[in-house]
């Protein structure tokens, strides 16, 4: 059974400092104080979320989820987050919309902007696309993942999950394993954890390590056992099947043998180390099902924290004058 989350008695309740930014485009725009502030805000949202209550914070506001890439999980998480805060949430089915007819991203932005939304949550397959869109609209824009660039709410929910279990981020050693080259989750996490004074390790076959990654991570490993030695947290990444068919990695079974997280490899980590995964998981490719569902796994809790974090971010962006 997955490890239960401890009850946090000292739940922060604000007041929080007004959010300085119009958009949340990436972790790179945040300083450590702002990161902690967002985590505290998210912490305060957990009871609301747990008790299935709603708050009136975003009553009368309109949130558009604009997903150019399929993502059931993230889109649902943002939708629930908006609705728990009283917002009207609209999902744009991009694949069947005018984008398929050759309309550019800028045209789409202008069209949506004319509908006067208060927030647009965007996922797009190209790095920088969300930032480009944010320049063309007057409302708040939340990056729900752009190419291999950033996925800021994922890094925040990962940080919140870690902080709730281990009480802090600074001084921890966190290993991020797998397809680093193509992962926005890895980048956002490396930036956040670096800003919070955690030690970061990336572990992957050289083919999945992008050039100059040593400037983003504290340490780089190509050997899983060596890299996992003594770590407090193991973050696994999804390996796209199409990347494991001979182009970069010969096969999924070879990848699993050397880079899949199983009990034997996990034993190199600190006893009781947290096991995380942003989902959706490829069981048997990057992670052993027994580990994914095992005692050290906090994977389902990550999903739960996702809603709280997204509530916090929406609230911070749409109530920038500050709230109690």
């Amino acid at each position: 059974m997955a490890r239960p989350a401890p009850d946090t008695s000292n739940t922060p309740s604000g007041p929080f400092q007004p959010f300085r930014h119009r958009h949340l485009l990436g972790i790179a725009q945040l300083n450590p104080v702002e990161i902690v502030d967002l985590l505290d805000r998210a912490e305060a949202m957990i009871p609301v979320s747990r008790q299935r209550k709603t708050l009136p914070n975003l009553a009368g506001k309109t949130q558009i989820n604009l997903f150019f890439e399929n993502s059931t999980r993230t889109q649902a998480s943002f939708e629930i987050a908006g609705k728990r805060l009283g917002a009207t949430v609209m999902n744009m089915a991009v694949r069947t919309s005018s984008v398929a007819k050759g309309e550019t991203l800028i045209d789409t932005a202008a069209t949506l902007n004319a509908m006067q939304p208060d927030a647009i949550v965007v996922r797009h397959g190209s790095s920088g696309a969300v930032e480009l869109l944010s320049q063309k609209v007057e409302c708040a824009v939340l990056n729900a993942g752009d190419g291999a660039h950033e996925h800021p709410t994922q890094a925040l929910l990962d940080a919140l999950t870690i902080r709730r279990h281990l009480g802090r981020l600074n001084g921890l050693t966190v290993a991020i394993c797998g397809d680093i080259a193509n992962s926005r989750v890895a980048r956002s996490n490396l930036i956040l954890l670096g800003a919070m004074q955690a030690r970061t390790r990336v572990i992957a076959p050289q083919n999945l390590l992008p050039a100059g990654v040593d400037q983003m991570a504290s340490e780089v490993f190509t050997d899983m056992r060596e890299g996992l030695k003594g770590v407090d947290v193991v973050m696994m990444l999804r390996l796209q099947n199409e990347r494991a068919s001979g182009k970069l990695v010969p096969s999924t079974r070879e990848f699993y043998r050397f880079y899949g997280l199983d009990a034997e490899k996990l034993a190199y980590a600190r006893p009781g180390a947290l096991v995380m995964h942003p989902g959706p998981m490829n069981r048997g490719v990057e992670i052993d099902p027994a580990i994914a569902d095992g005692a050290q796994s906090v994977i389902t809790e990550q999903v739960e924290m996702g809603v709280a974090v997204r509530m916090a971010v929406l609230d911070a962006l749409l109530n920038r004058e500050g709230n109690a």
Binding site: S127, A148, R187, A211, G212
Partner: protein
């Protein structure tokens, strides 16, 4: 013909004759009639006069890499609008690339470009023709017939020949007509889906990188083939330190090898891309600062022969896109000289070296009579103020597209008058 034209009190720099004097230049019947230090003794009394005090007079610039949209994409650039942009930049001859729709791979199309240019363009248009039919990289075009029609060089334009055997055949066949092969070396498979220079910056931005080896491996191949075949080979744009090393090595063995660089790669580096600014998405990509510095050294050493603009008009539809999806290329005719002068003002490169790379070297490589102020040469002349301060503004760009890497940039040095064949085609209005 026009009245004679006397340019007085000018600092005349003519890299072809290694001349740098203050004096006069007399233009008569479309040709340079006289160049002399000091005052003109026997100038015709009825000559028009230009007092060029404070200005530099040099041969009109020759830009070896210019894309237009004619035929096929006239909304991006026509030969006429490219001509105006060139004239404003002191460029009197442009080598147009064959990547049009249709591609320039047939004598009739070369003829079309020349006739359109004759009717509409105010500068000299020198068409290049495709190396392979349809720029498909497979079958050679009719080099002989194309040359007879007026093509001055053969190139695949933006494209790079991936097949070594085709490149060998092209170089070998070109020697029959003494035609230069101009080529942009890029290993398409190695570049893959890359969109900017590979390295920490690309990784941080989540963009796929193009390693420098995607240029140096095919450049090495081309240079070996150039020695093997004896062809006149010009690497269109190089961008990496290793490319300079390769050129240094191979140039020892053949005087028929030359290389160019765009002014962008001399003035800018990958950091200029900043937050996904697509106007800085170029091919080859802007490289690391170490590479840029190596390129400046290679220019000074003569390893790099030519500075071009790489003028490539792209409309907002294809440029205002996420970085990975946006088109490559930037315009540059109007900022070619001002951009190059940055290296002069920074103290890195002297004026004569810069001007040589935009006048006599391109003329030699292409076999032209222009690019010099020698007596009897065609009167293609550029007058510029090397210190004139100005800011590049989208509103004043003459090109039909505004994808410049120098948007809002502060420039020092402006072209004041451009003369093609004795006729003034551009005069800067500096009233304000």
């Amino acid at each position: 013909m026009n009245k004679p034209l006397l340019i007085e009190n000018a600092r005349i720099i003519d890299p072809a004759s290694d001349r740098d004097v203050t004096g006069v230049l007399l233009v008569e019947n479309g040709r340079i009639a006289d160049v002399a230090e000091g005052q003109a003794p026997g100038a015709p009394a009825d000559a028009d006069r230009i007092d060029a005090r404070g200005l530099i007079v040099c041969p009109g610039l020759i830009d070896m890499r210019v894309f237009t949209g004619e035929p096929g994409h006239e909304y991006r650039e026509t030969l006429e609008s490219a001509g105006h942009a060139a004239a404003a930049g002191g460029v009197t001859s442009i080598l147009t690339m064959p990547d049009t729709a249709p591609a320039i791979d047939d004598g009739a199309l070369v003829d079309y470009v020349l006739r359109r240019a004759g009717a509409t363009a105010c500068v000299r248009v020198l068409p290049s023709a495709a190396i392979t039919k349809g720029l498909e990289g497979k079958d050679l075009t009719e080099f002989g017939l194309l040359k007879e029609a007026g093509a001055v060089a053969f190139t695949e334009g933006r494209k790079s020949l991936q097949n070594t055997a085709v490149m060998r055949a092209a170089m070998t066949y070109a020697t029959n007509f003494d035609a230069p092969i101009i080529h942009q070396p890029l290993d398409a498979a190695l570049a893959g889906e890359g969109v900017m220079n590979a390295g920490p910056l690309a990784t941080f931005r989540g963009l796929k990188g193009i390693p420098t080896q995607a240029e140096t491996i095919p450049l090495d191949r081309d240079l070996q083939l150039a020695l093997m075949t004896g062809a006149r080979y010009h690497a269109a744009q190089v961008s990496t330190a290793r490319s300079a090393e390769l050129l240094t090595h191979y140039k020892k063995h053949s005087p028929r090898i030359s290389a160019g660089i765009s002014v962008n790669h001399l003035c800018l580096n990958e950091n200029d891309i900043g937050p996904y600014r697509t106007f800085f998405k170029l091919s080859p990509p802007l490289r690391h600062e170490d590479d840029r510095l190596a390129m400046v050294e290679a220019l000074k050493a003569g390893t790099i022969d030519v500075i071009c603009s790489g003028h490539d008009p792209q409309d907002t539809e294809v440029k205002r896109q996420p970085f990975a999806d946006a088109a490559e290329g930037a315009i540059g005719l109007e900022t070619l000289l001002a951009g190059a002068l940055r290296l002069y003002h920074s103290g890195d490169v002297d004026l004569k070296t810069l001007l040589r790379a935009m006048t006599i070297r391109p003329a030699q490589i292409l076999g032209l009579k222009t690019g010099t102020l020698a007596k009897g040469a065609p009167a293609d002349v550029c007058l510029f103020d090397p210190d004139y301060p100005w800011i590049v503004e989208e509103a004043t760009i003459r090109s039909k597209s505004s994808n410049t890497t120098f948007e809002k940039a502060r420039m020092m040095g402006k072209v004041m008058t451009t003369i093609v064949g004795g006729r003034i085609v551009h005069r800067e209005d500096t009233a304000q």
